[in-house]
Symmetry: C2
Subunit: 289 residues, 2 copies
């Protein structure tokens, strides 16, 4: 069944807001605490101001790269200069385009990624500059290289090609290069956890499991892969208890991560994508009608 | 200058979300706590799902009563049956219609209210039933009377007429019957407080001042006017200190109000309206461009 453009946009914005507000989510802004420079309401602004871009995405009227650039530009209109939702938007835009097409979401999103062009890649570089996003610095033509946009054009690389180049060290790029494999898996985990524990605790539990399972690439880009592995090990160490105890320990781990400036933001991006898939698919917050 | 329909919708949704998340807001759901039946994410859902209705309001394509009914119906689509934002929506819809017209907001909203018809009144009664809202029970033809819709038609009462009948005992109706006098005043207070204290603390301080100044009609409808006056006196008693101390005491008052089930929801509705006016007018979160 085809999902209306407004419903797709609502699913995308709700995914961002539910991810944001689920608490305690160790190391990320949530209902419990802000960061010094980035506050809860900054995430509200970036989520809400991207609404029309998700709606347009679902209408299929614009290329993916241009939509991502419009989304990261949109929040400037409400005075926001911080980078809040860049990674999440990079995941949600192709998912929103796919949801607007009406077929099987997994099949459709694979098609959306395959259709990306050199122009999408160039637009994505422009988005980077606007968002001031942080990524791991690894190979030539990595997403961070300022001269890469020229190379992209001369070498004819599409946005999907670029994502494949960065997939080894960036969780968001890895989702692009695998047809959102992990996001779809996490959406299934999420639906089960939400069914058992309710929305807030289900999201937190899924986040902890995701972080324990795969080291976070934003943490790796700040502190190196060893620190990212250690953060995942610590997340894993509070799993396996009764849910209430895990959530209590999550509060403690949150205080430790904030103290140490460990911010698993890429894992939060993936939870946003998983929430979108679950919302559009009706496995959480299903209408009673 | 005319505000685009999408920007009007964003201002409305952001007003609801910023009001919701400002903390500690004694007696209302905020970042600090949920209620047993109504949780933080329920307010996220009702805010986001009303986006297209605010956009349509700003486009001037539908009558005010029908828009209010659509707004309170919209959140059912995401499985929400609780009444969260009924009062706020009743204030924000005419403001959104007015903002879409492009003149002076105060003048335009007065016109929007004057233009309401008997059909708007009938639609509003339908909204009440959908939202399951609580209002004070006072005179005949009060907003709660189930037979009033028939009387409204036979007597030719407009929605503004109805609001005037309820303005003595309902803060939302009073805004309608005074051309949003207090909302505009609170928007000015809000801009000053946000300038001095930042967004979160400025909203909380404005909320406390509003509550101290006028007893809350939702509290009155639950516990009677004496209890509402007492709640306002207690809010007033924590003002006049240095801001940090007032905010600390607000945390204590919040715990007391929640314990006593004192929920000044009408005051929160007014803060939502004041936030919208300030956002659309650019006195808070102004774009740097």
């Amino acid at each position: 069944m085809k999902t209306s453009p407004d419903r797709v946009a609502q699913a995308a914005v709700l995914a961002m807001l539910i991810e944001l507000s689920s608490t305690p989510k160790p190391g990320n802004v949530d209902r419990g605490h802000d960061f010094e420079e980035i506050k809860f309401h900054h995430f509200l602004i970036s989520a809400v101001s991207a609404y029309p871009i998700f709606r347009d995405a679902a209408m299929g009227s614009e290329p993916t790269g241009a939509l991502i650039r419009r989304a990261v530009s949109s929040w400037r209109g409400w005075g926001l200069s911080q980078n809040t939702h860049f990674g999440t938007v990079t995941l949600l835009v192709p998912l929103a385009v796919a949801a607007g097409r009406g077929g099987d979401l997994k099949v459709e999103v694979a098609g959306v990624l395959e259709e990306t062009t050199v122009e999408d890649a160039v637009e994505f570089y422009a988005s980077f500059a606007i968002a001031g996003a942080r990524v791991a610095e690894v190979e030539a033509l990595s997403l961070k290289d300022p001269h890469a946009a020229d190379c992209v054009r001369s070498e004819g690389r599409t946005l999907l090609d670029l994502m494949r180049l960065s997939s080894g060290h960036d969780l968001v790029a890895r989702e692009w290069s695998t047809g959102f494999k992990r996001s779809f898996e996490l959406a299934e985990t999420l639906a089960r956890r939400v069914y058992d524990l309710g929305l807030n605790d289900g999201v937190v539990m899924t986040y902890l499991e995701a972080l324990a399972h795969v080291p976070d690439s934003l943490v790796a880009s700040k502190f190196g892969p060893k620190s990212a592995e250690e953060a995942s090990r610590r997340a894993g160490s509070i799993l396996g208890f009764e849910a209430g105890e895990t959530l209590r320990l999550a509060g403690e781990l949150d205080r430790e991560f904030v103290e140490e400036d460990i911010n698993p933001g890429s894992t939060a991006d993936l939870i946003g994508a998983a929430l979108f898939i679950a919302l559009v698919g009706g496995s959480i917050l299903r209408s009673e009608e």
